[in-house]
């Protein structure tokens, strides 16, 4: 039986592009598989729920009941890919819980493939967060996202050693364009006749990166 992927998009820093990546990934999975389940654990940042209300539910992990409601859903091998947009405020608590309850071991037992997409920033909080993850998460399951709009220049050396996914910076006017609540990446690909536009290329490049991640999961699972 194929493994069900669970993508956790996270950073201990706000406003690094987690929700943008969660949107991209959710739309990619929806396009490819026809279905996806997204979970929005955000208090104050732009919210995935607002962009993709049809496939997103809110979740909270500040109490046991919330943790159960989220993790008992996520640990099910039902073939439906899961995307968790993990707000910066919940970063520490989520991974502390994950370690305590043995999430990775249980995931392996049940045929779930967690993939941690850590959205990098150059500051100390981000570096510490990444270090914590490298100690907890196997290298094959941890991908550092280099969002060039946030990390101006090179990634800190420690973050550059493992798997890295680069997201090119969009010009400000395009960033504003895609930030509209009604904007859909897939709809844009379908409706834009000119495939040479910068945005078209950007979306396809990122979709291709996600496809590579998926292929890697299949190879690891076989």
């Amino acid at each position: 039986m194929r493994r069900t992927p669970v993508y956790i998009i996270c950073s201990p820093r706000p406003l690094v592009g987690k929700t943008l990546i969660a949107r991209l990934l959710s739309e990619f999975l929806l396009l490819k598989n026809g279905t996806v389940a997204a979970f929005d654990i955000n208090l104050k940042e732009p919210s995935l729920l607002e962009y993709l209300p049809a496939i997103t539910e809110t979740a909270q992990i500040d109490n046991t009941f919330g943790k159960m409601a989220l993790m008992d859903r996520v640990i099910v091998n039902d073939g439906i890919a899961k995307v968790i947009d993990l707000g910066f405020h919940a970063f520490d608590e989520f991974f502390k819980m994950s370690e305590e309850i043995g999430f990775l071991k249980e995931a392996a037992r049940r045929g779930i493939a967690p993939v941690i997409l850590f959205v990098a920033d150059a500051d100390r909080v981000s570096v510490r967060g990444h270090l914590m993850l490298t100690q907890q998460i196997p290298a094959t399951a941890l991908i550092t996202v280099d969002n060039e709009f946030v990390v101006r220049g090179e990634l800190p050396a420690a973050m550059d050693r493992g798997r890295v996914m680069r997201i090119a910076a969009l010009p400000v006017f395009l960033k504003t364009y895609v930030s509209r609540l009604t904007f859909s990446f897939t709809d844009y690909l379908r409706s834009e006749n000119d495939s040479s536009t910068e945005l078209h290329q950007w979306i396809r490049r990122n979709y291709f990166s996600f496809r590579e991640i998926e292929m890697n999961l299949i190879l690891l699972g076989s």
Binding site: T64, M68, M71, D72, M97, E100, I101, G102, E106
Partner: protein, 253 residues
């Protein structure tokens, strides 16, 4: 014939977690293949028996007949390890009875291995019991168990008070039982199974259950920490057991 081992788990205060600690002990011995029997002194209904019905008998420690049931069978009983979960308020009277029947002398002379797990609560009244209990402990292993059922610190922030209670008794060993997530604890209560079975997602009759993965994880993590404490005090050496199957243990490393 193995030397009989008697472990008393008690406190003179109620609600400090005696039965919880007894349950962790029974799970620990089970995982280490140490055959054990248990006596639940919460007569008539019992509390420990609900979780370990196959090895637990409910007794009334205030009656001679039930005292005979426990102590007259020590040398002939198999299993050789006996855990007694003593009702709140009965620990000092129970130890006094043991003294009076010569049991403590037998322990002092090495005929029996005797250990007391004194469960402490975060109150001065509870800590005051230590000195009283220590009077009975010659020849016995005395364990002071700090059971963190809430966010207490057992006066660790006040070194003078802490030292006055915890470091005054020579040969007393401290044990720390960390706090278990409340919802996880309650789910195990509802399930009425040993902690080990809950972690294994099994019901009373070993049927597969559907307990929350999160709560099972919390119990597993907690039990591993508790068992680390039992490992630290070399509990299996104390009882002269341990079949060496630590790989089958439900706790995590």
């Amino acid at each position: 014939m193995a030397k009989p081992v008697v472990i008393v788990v008690g406190a003179d205060k109620g609600g400090v977690g005696k039965t919880t600690v007894s349950r962790t002990l029974l799970d620990y011995f089970s995982a280490n293949n140490v055959p054990t029997r248990a006596f639940d002194t919460e007569s008539p209904r019992g509390t420990l028996k609900r979780f370990h019905p196959g090895i637990t008998e409910i007794v009334d420690m205030t009656t001679t007949s039930d005292q005979m049931k426990i102590f007259d069978t020590l040398n002939s009983a198999s299993p050789s390890v006996t855990v007694i979960d003593v009702r709140a308020g009965l620990m000092s009277p129970a130890l006094a009875s043991l003294r009076d029947i010569g049991f403590l002398d037998a322990a002092k002379s090495g005929q029996i291995t005797f250990a007391v797990f004194h469960i402490l609560g975060p109150s001065i009244a509870s800590l005051d019991e230590i000195a009283e209990t220590a009077n009975f402990m010659q020849g016995a292993k005395y364990f002071l168990v700090k059971n963190f059922i809430n966010n207490t610190s057992f006066f660790e922030w006040d070194q003078a008070t802490y030292n006055a209670y915890f470091h005054r008794i020579k040969d007393a060993t401290e044990l720390t039982i960390p706090k278990l997530n409340e919802m996880a604890f309650e789910q195990v209560e509802v399930a009425s199974v040993p902690f080990l079975k809950f972690v294994a997602n099994k019901g009373v009759h070993d049927e597969t259950e559907n307990y929350s993965f999160v709560l099972r994880g919390y119990v597993r993590h907690w039990l591993a920490n508790v068992w680390s404490e039992f490992d630290r005090i070399k509990l299996t050496d104390l009882v002269g057991g341990g079949g060496g199957k630590s790989g089958a243990r439900g706790g995590e490393k």
